[in-house]
């Protein structure tokens, strides 16, 4: 049965790391739903967060192959219940005096933020799960969305041994 998995990969900071990780998915004909990368809590250790829809069996094989990469320190796989995750979405919406009251209501009700206002458009920010950012998208549609961008998932885990602990165990 296919499920949504969030994979966290901790790596050394070296050229080509993203490519090394993604070809493992390509080889198995797996499509990555989203991917983000940033430095982790440890200097020079990078954290990749990858969202994937697949089976338990397949995801475990993928993790095995990722951990086999020389510069990967550790890879974890999580289901949604094990993590706190978030995405950020930006909406550039047409400015229209006739509808401004209604737009304000939508922004308030959805706990969104206004980042920029221009005579012609307004930029709104919303963080949340995909369902939430998508729901705001649907509500803003009637106002005229000029541009829309949504980030990949970032996530931290609920119960997990700290990475520094793993590093100690390896050393």
């Amino acid at each position: 049965m296919e499920k949504t998995f969030t994979i966290s990969v901790f790596t050394e900071n070296s050229v080509g790391m993203l490519n090394r990780i993604t070809i493992i998915f390509t080889r198995r004909h797996l499509n990555i739903e989203s991917i983000t990368a940033s430095e982790s809590e440890i200097a020079n250790v990078f954290r990749y967060t990858i969202v994937l829809k697949t089976t338990d069996e397949q995801v475990n094989k993928v993790i095995g192959q990722i951990e086999k990469l020389i510069e990967v320190l550790k890879a974890f796989v999580h289901e949604d219940d094990d993590i706190v995750h978030q995405e950020i979405a930006l909406y550039k919406v047409k400015m229209n005096h006739a509808s401004s009251n209604e737009l304000e209501k939508v922004i308030r009700e959805n706990y969104a933020r206004i980042l920029a206002i221009d005579p012609h458009y307004i930029v709104i920010e919303k963080t949340g799960h995909t369902t939430e950012t998508q729901s705001l998208f649907d509500k803003l549609k009637s106002f005229g969305i000029l541009e829309f961008a949504r980030s990949g998932r970032v996530a931290v885990t609920k119960p997990m041994k700290e990475l520094s602990q793993y590093l100690k165990e390896i050393n």
Binding site: R27, G64, E71, L73
Partner: protein
Amino acid sequence: MNVEKISGAKALILSLLHENIHTIFGYPGGAIMPIYDALYDFEKEINHILVRHEQGAIHAAQGYARVSGKCGVVFATSGPGATNLITGLADAMIDSTPIVCITGQVSSHLLGTDAFQETDVIGISMPVTKWNIQITKASDIPMAIAKAFFIATSGRPGPVLIDITKDAQFELFNYQYNKCHFIRSYNPLPKIDLNKIELASQLINEAKKPLLLIGQGIILSGAENELKTFIEKANIPTASTLLGLGALSANHALYVGYLGMHGDYAPNIKTNECDVLIAIGMRFDDRVTGDVSRYAKQAKIIHIDIDQAEINKIIKTDVAIHADAKMALQELTKLVDINKHESWLQEFKDAKKIEVDTLFENEKQNYTHELKMEEVIKCLSSITNGEAIIVTDVGQHQMMTSRYYKFLNTKSNVSSGGLGTMGFGLPAAIGAKLGNPNKQVIAIIGDGGFQMTLQELGTILQSKIAVKILILNNRFLGMVRQWQELFFEKRYSFTEMISPDYIKLANAYNIEALQITEKENLEEGILKMLQCTSSFLLEVKVAKESNVFPMIPTGASVAEIRLK
């Protein structure tokens, strides 16, 4: 302190010497010229073998590594030089062979500009290397070389590629070399979980019908003696994969044969009858397992492998031991009981008799005066006493060799297993001869595979390599033809093959050669080949349409192995 600065190119050579490398297979070109220029001063220390194609260089390095246990080293230039290595890299990757490839690259300011002979070799080689790195500064060369050898030779071995830009080869710096023994993100020698060893020993001690499957992992970890001690104590019948052949002598009383698609009848059918299946240093390749949904379902499975990713990849295990084979066998031997499995071992003998009788019957029915591949291999095996190093190419002759050559020694069987690379045989045999010069090295090759890399006859000529070449010429791509016969209604689509005159060809390279067409000349011909002190080519014309049996057809289970 005033240290003399040296070039990146010279530093590379000194680094290789530091790693005790004295044999390199390579081919020069524009982007690696500074390295070749540095090499010019090290003729005494380094034996550089000039091949005729970069694919030949890497296959030779593989043959060298497989028989010597050392790391094979390859030099190639950028662009086409580097891309010609890819097949060999993929082969070394899937067959766990330690190789370090050094490729030249265009100068760093030209990277990404489509410069002459520029190719993204890091990107191209990423999926077929254990590790790769591009170096743009001379000062990074010693560190990269040290890491490369550590990574290539430790854990599950594999190929590594270092791409060095031309400017880094020229650049001067203060050279200093430190060997690498540790990379924090890489754990080549996992700690053994002794609880798992205990669980495994319990299963083995309770087993009535245990079966052990060994792979190349035994050879790579140097566990041949530990294996013998273990099986002799617990009295376990032992079968081998293609790459494991020779890890246990074919004459050993507990050796029950060769696994897989064209393997022996007994170990294949007994896989689906044993109660405990122990797999060590093997990866349940599909050519070994047949249909996995009907593979050893009745048995408890113990899998010992140094590569964590292999565990539960194909076959779900009951006890998984992530460890080096040698260490695991030492621990396991302590805990297993001295045992006897006489009636179970008798079952293997009975099954073997069925195979021998059926194959004999087949042969009687299909008797012709033509020579058969298996006759040639059997004759070679008995004349050499199973003591030669045998290098095969890929196809029917490879399966016949694996079936009928009695490998008595470890590191005496070199074959392209996982990738099945036709053209592997000749260059790999060149490397094998250099890796173990005192042994008779015989390349057994089909007419198809030989024509893929026959340019390496030039390497044999120039470097005077006393390798013996046995061509089994059936004028067909035999294995594909066999499948066409069995599964494609004898529609022989592009498998019939014309060969050049191999005797003339060999003579053109100053290699002595002989052709055999009749049975009565076979033994004499083989003797002549073996007695020759330099290289020799023996062409044997074998039956055009002959099949390799037994056979597990694709999609069938190991128990459904066909004897005819």
